[in-house]
Amino acid sequence: MKKLRKETKNNLITYGIVILTYIIVQILVATGNMSSLMQGLLVPFCTYVIVAISLNLTVGVLGELSLGHAGFMCVGAFSSALFSLAVKDSFTVAPLRFLCAILIGALSAALIGFLVGIPVLRLRGDYLAIVTLAFGEIIKNIINAIYLGIDGNGIHISLKDAMSLGLSEDGRMLIKGAQGITGTPHDSNFTIGVVLVLVTLFIVLNFMDSRSGRAVMSIRDNRIAAESVGIDVTRYKLIAFTISAALAGVAGVLYAHNLSTLNAQPKNFGYNMSILILVFVVLGGIGSMRGSMIAAVLLTLLPEVLRFMADYRMLIYAIVLIVMMLFNWSPDAINMRKRLMAKIFPKKSQKEEA
């Protein structure tokens, strides 16, 4: 057997985990061993896994801090929901319509990511974080102000209120300002979600292993050295940032088509969400796609399984988050884990040391 490269093997393990989880879940569902709560959470799991991987591309691979990722998710969600709602009656082949919606969501998020990236990627570190935070809020606020309707005369758009659209009798409202979009077809399901997770992983892992990916990582590790060997810094940064935005858009599409109502609130598309996504990435390990996936699933699940605690739920959630961070990333905890591993598997660690 030809010996596989270490990276390839590692990537295959990541895909394997996703596929195995999918199979286990399907068996549990088929045998009726899964609660409604868990079944309802399956699509959100996929959504947050995708968005966590996409942010990990920006934070872990590109090495820049983005606090506006919920904004890109928002763009993907709204553009695709708008499309699905507009063609709901005429385009009835659900999987094909959803495929179009995914492409539209990804492309519009990529476009916004590209436009935002042009000015933003000239900044570094904290400055980039603050500007992306602002962009996330701008996107949310613009969407909250848009009124869009369609009638026999075409599309009407206004930033003031629904009356100024002047829709004729047969017209219908698509986006109602703060009320958002209502009546999106329910096209997301777990199978599509898992396929999208696999596609996302495939894109990101292969990008990391590609020529462009290595260029991006060299910029992260030493910008001056990268420039000195002739790497076009802005170009590669933009590529990574745009891919990241597009994938966040895909997560938004999945989100929008899982609920019949969609409105941009601080809770789902505000900076709180952006920071939550960053928490997934940091907890799971910056640069580790597998870690982000597990962290996203764990942290989405946690508040739901804590429901029995009623009023103390969010308090316990916060404490558990702190404990998990400490366990994962405190140097003492890491040493302790290593010692434990050495005790359990004495042979292996000796071999590794040697």
Binding site: Q39, T261, V305
Partner: protein, 405 residues
Amino acid sequence: MKKKVLSVMLSVAMVASLLAGCGNGASGEAATSETTTEAASNEDAAAETAEGGTFKIGGIGPLTGGAAVYGIAEKNGIQIAVDEINANGGINGMQVELNFQDDELDAEKSVNAYNSLKDWGMQVLAGCVTSACSIAVSDKTAADNMFQITPSGSAVDCVATDNAFRICFSDPNQGIASAQYIGENGLASKVAVIYDSSDVYSSGIYEKFATEAANQPFEIVAAEAFTADNKTDFSVQIQKAQDAGADLVFLPIYYTEASLILTQAKSMGFETKFFGCDGLDGILDVENFDTAVAEGVMLLTPFAADAEDEMTKKFVETYKEKFGETPNQFAADGYDTVYTIKAAAEKAGVTADMSVSDICEAIKGVMTEISVDGLTGEGITWTADGEPSKAPKAVVIKDGAYAAM
């Protein structure tokens, strides 16, 4: 290589145990919440539990975050009604159990809350508190054919599915009713509107108000919006209303902002009439608010805590005793919701062993036939599309209290 294989196996085992653990966790969790609600409900009722089984009502609303006031009030209102019903022998001899879950004002969390209530064994849903969550959940209840009645989801789409009903007025109804009331009673000829464009409730009422105003003998001279991000200083909006010569200002907003507007208008020397919707209910209880400023404010509300009828008095007394606050209209909506479920379930002869779908079909069938005397209206009836029909009451604030007009 061996280590890799081992790590794969370990991680698979971890994921599997995690997922399996969740399945078990959910059932264990259901058991705990059952015991807590049972303990919370009347002790003397517990003895009768065996007779007709239990009837499980679920509720969903924001218990944490910015909108928690509404969710908590509604939960308390529902709790009072459930306790009363249990003390009086339950519904068809069934004891009522309540489980109210937090949705943090997020549609996705609301669906999660619904699923977790389903695991608990909920038979009828009294929720959700807010419009967007209610719409998202009604999509799921329709798929499961579970009867849903929202106490305060006022957006039109909340009752779009045929298994969903509501207690409160819809937004358009409030807007139209307000415009008609102002027009028919000749309250004003020039009206200014100050509304929250980032809020579904407020912009929903404003839209219909403006549409209906075209048919009424007054004109809208100014329509000024604010958003959730800047709702402390209203001098610009008030100034514009004043410059336009408005003799009435329509405030389809919640009472916290309204109290600021009233105070600021007073200090700017803008003497005019103010007219609001049910969101203004509660304005007299705002802390550090000079109620003299609110003198003469008119509002269209289904519920006033100061009403003199026996039922309201009793409810307000119990609420104050239990929760130490004056109930607002959300609490009243929650209370009426439970009694509506009771009336419908009794009429339809619902029993505890019926399936969720059968209960839904049975209750749906009789919803148009029942009439409920509640806190938010007398003789409330429903149409098959889920809308309640009740007369809006207009009240005016006189000497620091609500008085009927």
